[in-house]
């Protein structure tokens, strides 16, 4: 049985938006299709060995925790970059997208170095971008909508090497101006969307699992469809909700 190796980065510090829900979705959708998975928690001070994983997840945390994490991530950045080059699937959410970028400048002007696996930078704004959001996404040959909740003060600007995850249909997105959300570069996805992200977005979950399985097997993978009626209904309602002005 093919076993997908998932790295959950800093689950003790970066977990405030129901992040473990994303991990449940990844492992359950593998299990339902007859694959197995192993989740390894990697925390502060632990070593990240690039060849050990097929998928790497990082969630959102409180500001003070994000500062602790940034210092530790700096020590792992070359290992992470080599995993990216090797085609490992990355999903970094909320605080994760900021830390995946080149730098984060907070409200008092302090600069935090990011890992640099996404070509973007984030500068703290003056208003929180907060609320339900829906985006139209196109990654490789797939098109789908992604729904979620955003809550960030950081204004994120993409460089030329990364593409947005999607165009904003309703909500804010990366910043107050560009009308785009998230970032994709190689097989790294960064996004502000939580809720958590994956339960209501099975298309995105399956894209990431396809990447992880392809990394694991070195073959092209096509996942069988699952019966997703709860997810489809929750997703449809979320699109409507994001479109409501309230």
């Amino acid at each position: 049985m093919t076993e997908v190796r998932i790295c959950h980065l800093y689950p003790d510090h970066m977990n405030i938006y129901g992040d473990r829900g994303n991990i449940s979705v990844l492992t359950k959708r593998l299990q339902w299709r007859g694959y197995s998975s192993k989740v390894t928690n990697i925390g502060v001070g632990d070593k990240y060995v690039p060849g050990d994983f097929d998928l790497c997840y990082l969630g959102g945390g409180q500001d003070k925790d994000q500062n602790i994490i940034a210092l530790d991530l700096a020590k792992k950045s070359s290992a992470l970059a080599s995993a990216v080059d090797d085609g490992v699937a990355f999903l970094w959410v909320c605080g994760g997208i900021q830390l995946a970028g080149k730098r984060y400048v907070d409200a008092s002007g302090n600069e935090l170095q990011g890992v640099g696996i996404l070509d973007l930078e984030t500068i703290a704004g003056t208003e929180r971008l907060i609320g339900d959001i829906a985006i139209r996404s196109s990654v490789e040959d797939r098109e789908f909508t992604v729904v979620g909740y955003e809550n960030h003060i950081g204004q994120t600007y993409l460089g030329s090497d990364s593409r947005p995850l999607g165009k904003v249909l309703h909500g804010y997105g990366n910043n107050s101006y560009d009308q785009v959300e998230g970032a994709v570069q190689q097989r790294v996805i960064g996004t502000y969307l939580h809720g958590p992200l994956l339960p209501k977005n099975p298309d995105l979950a399956d894209l990431i699992l396809t990447w992880a399985l392809e990394h694991r097997t070195s073959e092209s993978v096509s996942l069988e469809k699952l019966e997703d009626d709860f997810a489809v209904l929750a997703h449809e309602r979320a699109v409507v909700r994001a479109g409501l002005k309230r």
Partner: protein, 456 residues
């Protein structure tokens, strides 16, 4: 001008119970504060014996109820916002509608609204109970509320008595900033201790040096008998300590409070460890206010839960238990209580995403529903975010075929009744406004009373 503003406010207060839901619990205060911004301080000053303010993420309504019952039984007439309207407008409404003979206020206050209200109310006593992760979209991170509370405590009037739950490391550290703080906590909860931190726990790091805390025993979320091995900060000495706890499922609990004056054995109708904390806070406050301790003990034994908190309602020969669950810590406390319940469970979870619930419902993924799922015989989910709940239970490992999603409260109740037999116990865990919706329907079906007729 103040007189006119107060008169208009009172008129609205008189009219609004007639306007159905809301029961006029906030509108008069909104009008008053708009007409006269200083009215809040003036109203506060009109209470001869001042106010006790109670704030927490969880338990403020119940603690307020315990304490106002104790004072009332001791002959101290109190005004209280028993309906749970705890923003500035709600507190102002309570003060506005106080009666002539009321000498003291016992008021629950929203965590975010607390610093401003403390400044204007200048309470005689302030009780800080706990801070848990809650409604990140509204309150922001726990850390930001804690920071505002820290500043508030440093600026407290010297005459204000401060009572703090020593089991909450962040709050205890805030309380230690000020001389004379009274600390309460669970002295010995070893029989109900957890072996590891719950997933949703915050503040498991030392508030002083950020090293991980170690615990002699863990009660709810990050609360317990904590210490930091690295800088030696530890839970302060308890002025009021609970021991010999015995929880009896939904029926209540027995425990002993140890204070300077001796041991006090308490038997309460309120279930769960979280209510032991609430009763302890009320006991400590009332003792410090000089109320006779035997009277306190007997009053606590009589207090029953406020609407929707832990409410039992009979419907079609079934027992419907409503256990409000509006954040991970509260929901986990309810799950602890359900685990003490014998036999298979009929569980129903309701989730809305209005402002009072929090627009961001990610928190349901931080609740440890998995712990109880193997006891669940029927599962209903409902509310505006019913499909988010369906996904939560599906990915939590519950059998998909057994997840009943209801699109309306009436249909949900019908389905709950038709899928269970007579004398069944049905357990509903609703978010705040989902609880109000459910109660509306129950009032319509004539099985309970409207919430603003609750209590006094």
């Amino acid at each position: 001008m103040y007189f006119v503003a107060r008169l208009i406010g009172k008129t609205i207060a008189f009219l609004s119970p007639l306007l159905r839901r809301g029961g006029g619990t906030s509108a008069p205060g909104v009008a008053l504060l708009r007409l006269h911004p200083k009215a809040f301080s003036k109203l506060s000053d009109s209470l001869d014996r001042g106010s006790v303010l109670i704030s927490a993420t969880n338990g403020k309504t119940t603690t307020t109820r315990f304490l106002s019952d104790i004072l009332a039984n001791a002959g101290v007439a109190c005004v209280s916002n028993t309906s749970g309207a705890n923003l500035k407008s709600g507190v102002a409404t309570a003060l506005l509608t106080k009666e002539q003979h009321h000498e003291m206020g016992v008021l629950e206050v929203d965590e975010a609204a607390l610093p401003e209200i403390v400044e204007e109310n200048r309470p005689r006593m302030l009780i800080l109970m706990n801070l848990f992760r809650d409604q990140l979209d509204r309150y922001g991170e726990l850390e930001s509320i804690a920071k505002r509370w820290r500043e508030m405590v440093l600026a407290l009037h010297p005459n204000t008595k401060l009572l703090v739950n020593a089991d909450d490391p962040v709050l205890a550290t805030i309380g230690l900033q000020r001389p004379g703080t009274i600390f309460f906590g669970l002295g010995d909860a070893s029989s109900y201790s957890r072996d590891k931190l719950q997933h949703a726990s915050d503040s498991s790091n030392c508030p002083q040096c950020s090293a991980p805390l170690s615990y002699e025993h863990l009660t709810l979320s990050h609360m317990g008998d904590w210490r930091c091995e690295s800088c030696s900060l530890a839970r302060p000495q308890l002025d009021f300590a609970v021991s010999r706890i015995r929880l009896d499922g939904l029926n209540g609990s027995d425990f002993t409070i140890n204070s300077e004056s001796g041991l006090h054995e308490i038997s309460s109708k309120m279930p769960g460890l979280h209510n032991v904390y609430n009763a302890l806070a009320a006991f400590s406050a009332a003792s410090d206010l000089g109320i006779d301790q035997e009277g306190i003990v007997s009053s606590i034994s009589k207090t029953v839960a406020a609407f929707g908190r832990t409410e039992k309602i009979s419907i079609n020969d079934r027992e419907l238990h409503i256990l409000l669950a509006k954040n991970p810590a509260g929901a986990n406390a309810n799950i602890d209580t359900l685990l003490l319940q014998p036999g298979p469970l009929h569980l129903c979870v309701l989730l809305n995403d209005r402002i009072a619930d929090g627009r961001d419902v990610s928190w349901i993924w931080d609740v440890d529903y998995e712990r109880v799922l193997n006891k669940v015989e029927t599962l209903h989910v409902g509310g505006e975010r019913s499909y988010d709940l369906a996904l939560r239970f599906l990915y939590g490992g519950f059998d998909k075929e057994k997840i009943e999603v209801a699109d309306s409260i009436p249909k949900l109740l019908d389905s709950l009744i038709s899928s269970t037999s007579e004398n069944s116990k049905l357990f509903v865990l609703p978010s705040y406004t989902a609880m109000l919706d459910l109660r509306d329907e129950l009032v319509k079906r004539n099985v309970t009373h409207a919430f603003w007729k609750d209590g006094k």
